[in-house]
Amino acid sequence: MKKFWTVLMCAAMTLSMAACSSDSASAKNDDKIYVGTEAGFAPYEYMSGDQVVGVDMDIAQAIADALGKELVIKNMDFDGALNAVQQGQVDFVAAGVSVDEERQKVMDFSHNYVDSSDVVIVNASADTVKTNEDIADKIVGVQQGNIADIWMTNNYPDAQVKRYTKFVQAAEDLKNNKIDAIVMDLYPAQELVATNPELKILDEENPVFVDQYAIAVKKGNQELLDQINEVIDQLIADGKIEEFTAKHASAN
C-alpha cells in the first residue's frame, strides 16, 4: 500500500512541476527565440520534409542570428499564432501577417517587408462569380483570422464567409462547388491554380485589396520590435527579401 502511495505522490509531483514550470519557463529562456507561423502558405512558409521553410522563415532566422539566439519554429493555426504572440507563447509571428488597424490595437508590427495583394479564385467551370464584386452575396472561403477574413466581414456583410484553417481545404471545397470563391493572397493563389487547373484567378490585374506584411510582436515589446526593425531594414536594403522570395518561388 505504501509503495502505491509513493508512486502516486511521485506522479502528482511530476505533473505539478510541469504545471508550475510555467512561471520559471516564461522568464525568458535567454538563448532561444520563438517564432509562430502556419506552414500552409508557400512561398512564405511551407513544409519541406518535416521542416518548416520559406521566406518568412529566412527572415526569422536572420532575426535570430542578429540577436544571437537559437530559432525555435512553432507551427500552428494562423489565428492560433496571432493569439500565441499576444499570450507570450511565441516572441514574434512571421506568417504573412498583414498590417491592420484592429490588429494594431492588440499587437505591434514591424516595418513592412512585402507588398501583397488579395485576389478572388473561382472554379473555372462555374459561373456564379464573374467579377470581383460578385462575391458580395456568395459563399466565400477564407483562412480563419486572415486579413481576407477581416476584410470580407467588414466589406461584404451579405456574403456567407466560410472560415478554414487550411487553404488547401478551401481549394478542395471550391473544386466541389461547395463554395463559390476564395479570397486569398496572390502568390499562394498563383501556386494554388497552377496545381489545380480546375480553379482560376478571376482578375489577376485587379486585386480585391492590397496590403503589407509585417512581423507581429506582443504589444509593448519595444525592445524586440526595434531589434526586428533593424534586421528588416537591413534585409530590404540588401535586396535579401527579393532573394528569399526568388529562392522559394522557384523551389515550388
Binding site: M1, F4, L8, A11, L15, A18, A19, S21, S22, D23, A25, S26, N29, Y34, A39, G40, F41, A42, Y46, M47, S48, G49, D50, K74, N75, M76, D77, G80, A84, Q87, Q89, V90, K166, F167, V168, Q169, A171, E172, E191, L192, T195, N196
Partner: protein, 234 residues
C-alpha cells in the same frame, strides 16, 4: 491507365517526394508518446476513482463520501463534454508556458481516459463475487488489503482487454491534439496536403498509418490475453 498513373503520382508526391515521409514519422512519434503516457495517467486516475467509489459503498466515512461525490462529478463532467473542447480548456488554463503542448495533450487525454477507465475498472471489480470481499473481512483484513490482495488481482483479468481497447481509442483520439499545435499524424497529413495543394492522398496515407498501428497493437493484445487466459486451464 492514365488515371491510375495520375493517382500513383499523387500518392508518391504525398509520401516520398521532398522527404515528406519524415513528417508522418514525426507525427507517429508524437501520437505514440501522447497515447502511452495518457493511458498510464488514465489508468492511475481510473484505479483511484474506481477504488474510492467501491469502498465508499461500504464505508460511511464522511470524508470518503465527499471524495466519492467529487469522483462522481469528475466522471460526469468529462463524459458530458467533448474532448476537443477539453483540450482547449486545459491548454489555456493550466499549460500556459512555452513548449508545454505535449504535456497539455497527455494531461487532457489522461484525465479524459481516466473517467472512462474508472467505469471499466469499477465494472471489473464489481464482477468479482461479493463473497470474496466478505471472505477477506471475515479473515480480519483491512479494506485496503482486501482490495489489493484479493479483489484487484482477480479483476485485472477482466479489465485488461477493456484497457487495451482504451489504449487503442486513445491512439485515434490523439488526432485532436492538432488543435493545440501538436503535430500528430493527422496534422502532418494536413500540412503535406497544404504543401501539395492535394488534400486527399495524405489523408489516406494517415488513415493507413493509424490502421497499421492499431492492427499491430490488437495483435499484441490478443497474444497477451491468450497468455493470461492460459492460467485458467488446469
Amino acid at each position: 491507365m492514365n488515371g491510375i498513373l495520375k493517382l500513383g503520382q499523387r500518392f508518391y508526391s504525398a509520401f516520398f517526394a521532398d522527404n515528406r515521409y519524415l513528417a508522418y514519422l514525426e507525427g507517429v512519434k508524437n501520437t505514440l508518446i501522447i497515447s502511452l503516457f495518457a493511458v498510464l495517467l488514465g489508468v492511475l486516475i481510473g484505479v483511484l476513482v474506481a477504488v474510492v467509489k467501491y469502498v465508499a459503498k461500504e464505508n460511511k466515512n464522511p470524508l470518503l463520501g465527499l471524495l466519492d461525490r467529487f469522483c462522481g462529478l469528475y466522471v460526469t463532467v468529462i463524459r458530458a463534454t467533448p474532448v476537443y473542447l477539453q483540450i482547449f480548456i486545459i491548454a489555456n488554463l493550466i499549460f500556459t508556458a512555452r513548449d508545454m503542448e505535449l504535456y497539455a495533450a497527455i494531461t487532457c487525454f489522461g484525465i479524459n481516459s481516466g473517467a472512462y477507465v474508472s467505469e471499466i475498472i469499477r465494472a471489473g471489480i464489481e464482477s468479482i463475487d461479493r463473497g470474496q470481499f466478505e471472505a477477506g473481512q471475515s479473515l480480519g483484513l483491512s479494506h485496503g488489503t482486501i482490495m489489493k490482495s484479493i479483489i484487484l488481482p482477480q479483476a485485472v483479468k477482466n479489465i485488461l482487454p477493456a484497457l487495451g481497447n482504451e489504449f487503442i481509442t486513445l491512439i485515434k483520439e490523439t488526432a485532436v491534439a492538432g488543435a493545440i499545435a501538436v503535430t500528430d499524424v493527422t496534422k502532418a497529413a494536413q500540412y503535406i496536403g497544404s504543401r501539395t495543394w492535394d488534400v486527399l492522398p495524405p489523408l489516406f496515407i494517415a488513415a493507413g498509418i493509424y490502421l497499421v498501428i492499431v492492427l499491430g497493437l490488437t495483435r499484441l493484445l490478443n497474444i497477451f490475453e491468450r497468455r493470461l487466459a492460459a492460467s485458467d486451464h488446469h
